[in-house]
Amino acid sequence: MEPRPTPIDGFPTPTSKTQAETEAVLIKHIPDPASTSAPPALLKNAHMQFLVRNLIQGFPTRYISQDASQPWLLFWTVQAFSVLQVGLDPGNKQRVIDKIMTWQHPDGGFGGGPGQAAHLLATYASVCALAIVGKPGPKGGWDQIDREKLYNFFMSLKQKDGSFLVAHHSEVDVRGIYCLLTVATLLDIITPELIEGTASFIASCQTYEGGFASASHPFYSHGGTLLPPPAPRPALGEAHGGYTFCCLASWVLLQPYLAEASTPEPPPQIDLKNLLRWLVNMQGIEIELGGFKGRTNKLVDGCYSWWCGGAFALLEALGVGGIQNADSEEVPIDSGPGAGVWDDVDDGLFNRQALQEYILYAGQHPSGGLRDKPPKNADAYHTLYCLSGLSSAQHHVFPSSVRRQQLFDAWKTTDNPQDGLRKKVFGEILSWAEEEGSSHIVGGKENRLNATHPLTNLTITHTEGIASHFYGQKVPPRVLRAKPTADASAA
């Protein structure tokens, strides 16, 4: 049976016309069950070749448009290798490190290329790429990051309302806040002063639809006076997948501080119920192969596999979804092997299988690399975010209370006045663990990808590596838990 098209209700508009055209293209990518029985394959070799070509030969001329995003080109490429379970040889790793270090600005932070101004987004991409290829010691990259200047750079971007400019004289944008918080968390440079007011700013970006916008802004009178509360502080722009990921991840990263903060005002809040409703509605229907879109009434696009699909794991940290949050008889997955009833109640709040099918059937370019949707070309950006999204749909990575306790127990107390808070931040960021035996891999184990950390979009190993270095702590080995017993997992 052919899947139903999106209803037009006899009332076509530009939106429904583009939607119908896209559905007509996508439906051709659904295999006919009568003619093929082969499971969908992830073209790992073709994607590898695409990545190797970019890394070794270079990027074609049309990438001049991303000359100010050179750290991103490298991060997308080396992280795509990691998701594909491939590491670089030491020689190429060193070449990547050497290139990244040319982007560090003399006044702190990293720019989009040599001689370019420092920028929060470029700083995230540089530091995360260093988390993958770097190491301690001379020329290893990690110890050449000037953290003091980086902190000062962050502070110089701070606005009174808790937000940050993405660069000097540039815009306020929640992508920058996510990048700043991730870097500051990994490098152990967050202070209460740095993030004061930031959670309130994030909360103010949630729109009536439930998702988050790029920023919010206060009102000024015609005479130029800033209008104080209760004057409105509207979101700038509509709810959007990319901004929603950044806001939600920022919100999760800020939790240890919110818990410690003792302010007279009630803590800022976000509407999780409306957020969940918006997120599930970003998943396209069967005729769209279950891909995600980034805004209401827009088209599906492979990159939202990560920005929207990946956001569900973050919700689990806030008590929404995940068997560990289920108020039921099921035994929490943390509690040990084999005990109790295993119900398949919790393989997610969205359709993980359909999302994998979208990427496998429509997101792969036949000659390598991944893409927005057919018939578009592959590019470095979509290659990573399709792969990361596919990975997050394959694996269940969740904040494990068992793992958190292991980290707390192993913490070496320091005389740092913020020791308690640092311990908490360290325990939280590294508490994320993959639920053993819970992977659902469409197309079989040949399609398996590495799990990525829902907050950093690095592998868990790389996240542990760089964080333990900068916090000066040892990470206890991960103990593999047995799979749930056979009879219990049969549900």
Partner: protein, 379 residues
């Protein structure tokens, strides 16, 4: 030999007025991994740009150089940043007596003209729109911007940057004070202008939604204009506005029921005004059942503005209506000792999970679990 520029402009290296600058290569003494294959023209412009930034030069020729970089790569944020710093430096050092009072300095006027061209050409980049914000913050002349944004939205009606620029502009210059009135300026003319701007803004949204009732950016802008523009403190006026918006949303739904933008707006205004969803049960119900026969369709001639029926061509039942009705039942069920309404909600969620919205099966099952847990005391 460097190729000539396609527009016939020689590369910077061939121009005597740049002879004093030593261009700065991007990667010195390294063979970088993952290089970009630059054009000669781009390489030349950015080599000179790096040299200028390093020297800290802020002169008129920097405007020409950064324009060249920007035209080739409008996302080059450092070129924009340096251009802005140079512009403000030059403006501060050339405050001339020759500029007539009230007129913009020629340098600033020229920059605005250039930006009008680039805004339409590069409307998908962050930097074009942010640069405009910086310029308007200097000129404090927002009024001409609204027309330009309108032209830009005609080209790309859902452009995120364009819409957020419009919202930034309105909130930065046209706010009402805490009493719900526009700020009492000395200049009475400007106060009136602010009021007119908001009225015109609602007409503008109407036009955009008339062109495409599924344009979610326009719906979001409507919410911004109606509920986030400073609003009114008068209860009667608030009530009138809410009713007007309710009718607007319902009419839009009746035109094309399966339009999540309109339903989200409806939910948004109910939540914002703390109005129970149950007040709309009569309106919603006809959208939750299969299309009526032709005979019933004739009854549509009876106009009920509060409850506009689905159009004859509507594909029913509508998923968003089923969800809405289930929400009504869930709320009612939560506060009653029996569980009839909760079970009615569960039936609707089951029909969504298994028939009408199968892609979200997991979510609807989650809603069922949550509703059931809500009824029992947690231990």
């Amino acid at each position: 030999m460097p190729l000539p520029d396609p527009d016939g402009v020689p590369l910077f290296a061939e121009r005597p007025e740049w002879a004093d600058v030593l261009p700065l290569e991007q990667y010195e003494d390294v063979n970088p991994i993952a290089p970009i294959f630059y054009t000669e023209e781009y390489k030349a412009a950015t080599n000179y740009f790096r040299a200028i930034v390093k020297a800290g030069e802020k002169s008129p020729r920097v405007m020409e150089l950064t324009e060249s970089v920007i035209r080739q790569n409008p996302a080059h944020y450092s070129a924009w940043q340096y251009r802005y710093e140079t512009l403000t430096f030059l403006l501060a050092s050339t405050t001339s007596d020759s500029t007539p009072k009230g007129a913009l300095p020629p340098l600033l006027a020229a920059e605005l003209t250039l930006m009008d061209e680039l805004a339409v050409q590069f409307l998908k980049t962050y930097q074009v729109w942010h640069h405009r914000r910086l310029l308007v913050s200097l000129t404090k002349q927002p009024s001409r911007e609204l027309a330009l944004i309108k032209r830009s939205l005609e080209v790309d009606s859902k452009n995120y940057h364009t819409w957020s620029y419009r919202q930034w502009l309105l909130s930065s210059f046209y706010g009402a004070d805490e009493n719900g009135r526009e700020q009492d300026d000395d200049d009475e003319g400007e106060t009136i202008e602010a009021r007119e701007v908001w009225e015109a803004e609602l007409d503008f949204v109407d036009t955009m939604l008339a062109q495409d009732v599924r344009n979610n950016s326009a719906w979001h802008h409507r919410f911004f204009v109606v509920f986030h523009s400073g609003g009114t403190e008068h209860e009667a006026e608030k009530e009138r506005i809410f009713k007007r918006e309710l009718v607007y949303a319902k009419q839009s739904i009746s035109l094309a029921p399966s339009n999540p933008s309109a339903w989200n707006y409806l939910r948004g205004i109910l939540t914002h005004t703390r109005t129970p969803f149950a007040t709309l049960e009569t309106f919603v119900k006809p959208y939750t059942v299969a299309q009526k026969s032709a005979g019933d369709a004739e009854k549509r001639d009876i106009v009920d503005l509060d409850n506009p029926p689905p159009s004859a061509e509507a594909e029913l039942p509508c998923v968003q209506a089923l969800e809405f009705l289930a929400d009504i039942f869930e709320t009612q069920g939560a506060s009653e000792p029996g569980k009839e309404n909760t079970e009615k909600a569960v039936e609707l969620w089951k029909s969504l999970a298994n028939q009408y919205d199968t892609i979200r099966k997991k979510y609807w099952e989650y809603r069922i679990r949550e509703a059931h847990h809500g009824k029992e005391p947690r231990t």
